[in-house]
Subunit: 344 residues, 2 copies
């Protein structure tokens, strides 16, 4: 942080600081930031950190430039018409928020975790130095790689039309992150692997790997948001813990894509029925998660929800998506509960 403030001082740029962004960043800090910006007439937001810092900055940017409660946007009640310009100094490769149109905020009351997307918040620049990510704990690195891959996988598993070019880019990105995640598991200071993962993080979530499809599936993220809201688990680990159960629940409804994923990303053997190949791909993905010590179920994630809590998450998830959602397979509350149960 001192490097940043020294640099701003040297350039004669005046600033005020706001610390305290936490994983699953809180609405309270956003409100605090909005107040600070208004008081100090802040006209540019520089987020230093990972997704939590960037998403907090984006939400603050909306709050400063739009009347009323900023939570309205995350509650799908209205749309933002402006955002303060946001710049990024990235210290963690994961959320892709440095190049994406999205931000995710958690409201402490009721632990409601919601995302809001708009081109208005896309950062104007991002300084991405892989060296800044080298001191991350291994668990965070693995979580980051999981999140990165999932951003492209959410776009990949659809029934809504796909472009060959987009698929080729997505598959190349997924293979690259998988390979380099395994390198970083053994050699966390590997600069090249850090660089590959960092750049992949931006491309995985800026829209490139979803061009031409119907917007993607996103149900793994939605299912994880309830976990993150309720148990404050690391986002990447939560995704890994839920993905396998989601995949096994939906793959028959999206078989061509799961087969393609198995062959072109997980590079499994091309033999047997389409279902067998698809399942082999899902298993290979879970093997990969285990190889970097990511969980493949809730127990490994370290949470043991009661049946009531599972039902609560399913209910909140269904409300959060407006009843039902998904492209690989449209899921309703009952489906969500079944997936949560299978993931225990």
């Amino acid at each position: 942080m001192k490097r940043v403030t020294d640099s701003l001082d040297a350039a004669g740029i005046s600033y005020v600081s706001l610390g305290g962004a936490v994983p699953n960043p809180h609405l309270g800090l956003v409100y605090e930031g909005i107040e600070l910006c208004k008081k100090e007439n802040v006209d540019f937001l520089l987020a230093v950190g990972g997704g939590s810092a960037i998403d907090s900055a984006k939400a603050i940017g909306y709050g400063v430039t739009n009347e009323g409660d900023v939570w309205d946007f995350y509650d799908y009640r209205r749309k933002a018409t402006a955002c303060l310009p946001v710049g990024v100094i990235l210290t963690l490769a994961a959320t892709g928020s440095e190049m994406s149109d999205s931000s995710v905020i958690t409201k402490e009351e009721g632990l409601v975790k919601r995302g809001y997307s708009s081109d208005l918040c896309r950062p104007r620049f991002a300084i991405m130095n892989p060296e800044l990510t080298m001191t991350l704990p291994d668990y965070q690195t693995a979580c980051g790689c999981t999140d990165i891959m999932m951003h492209t996988m959410e776009r990949y598993f659809t029934n809504g039309g796909n472009m060959e070019l987009t698929d080729a880019l997505a598959e190349g990105l997924l293979r690259t992150v998988k390979k380099n995640a395994m390198i970083l598991y053994k050699d966390p200071k590997n600069y090249d692997a850090r660089a590959e993962v960092m750049w992949a993080g931006s491309l995985a979530h800026n829209g490139l790997t979803g061009c031409g499809n119907d917007g993607g599936d996103w149900m793994t993220h939605k299912l994880e948001h309830e976990l993150g809201g309720l148990y404050d688990v690391a986002h990447g680990a939560g995704l890994a813990a839920i993905w396998g159960s989601w995949a096994r629940y939906v793959f028959r409804d999206c078989l061509p894509r799961f087969k393609k994923f198995a062959l072109n990303v997980m590079e499994v053997e091309d033999s047997g029925s389409d279902e067998e190949i698809a399942l082999r791909g899902i298993e290979a993905m879970e093997d990969f998660y285990r190889s970097i010590e990511m969980p493949t179920n809730l127990r490994e994630l370290g949470v043991s929800p009661t049946e009531d809590e599972l039902a609560l998450m399913a209910k909140k998830c269904a409300i959060g998506v407006g009843g039902e959602m998904g492209s690989a397979k449209v899921l309703n509350e009952k489906d969500m509960l079944a997936i949560y149960r299978a993931s225990v």
Copy 2:
């Protein structure tokens, strides 16, 4: 064109028109456009067409907003400090100028063809409807696919460091364009293939497929520019005609990349020495050119330079690049002449 002017009229946007952009667009039209823009106080340029229209608009944009002769930028004498905003309605997938920072203009006097690159000229938007490219003559479609692939190949064949992710994206893009170029050769109205090629055209030249390398090689383009300047051949066909000779001349100095290209893009058999594999990849690329009726030498391109003309092109090319250039292999005037001779 009427659809465009009707749409502008309907929106109440006033405009003046300038037609006459030709392949290898001329400096004369650029001067004319600059004068027109200044007289009419034009504040936005809408290029309707392919690379010639867009590059002309970019050059006009530089000329209107910078003092002095706009050719200075293309003659590497000084740098532009501004450009009028440019928008694009794309009718031809080839140059990628709709998303790139570059423009290429030919000065009629001495037939000097030069490119100038600056982020200032990147179009603000591009409307890309694959249907608009369906009526192209087959030859132009094949030229476009060749140009698109070459924009990424120029970035791929380097000795200057590469990223795995960039390679994966580049290889995926090249495989996709190759496949869809062959589909369009047989089925020019194939919407999906048109869409794949059109989007690839933008991604091939916006910088994405060169991220992390040293800027690329670009000597095939430089060698072709002299052909285009002297004989006014179609750019894509000129590239195809010169590439094989360039590749055979340089591949031993860039063997790992040529081998990777052979295996991952041309998907040739992985057996024998690296040189054998690399050569197999070059041959496969030439076979592909032939399969879409692109030339693989100057004779097939329809030009028969005299020895004096070959020497003149080599001399102009060397001057154009400031003596020597290249990343796969640094080429000087002597090398350039050898490649021109081999391509006859």
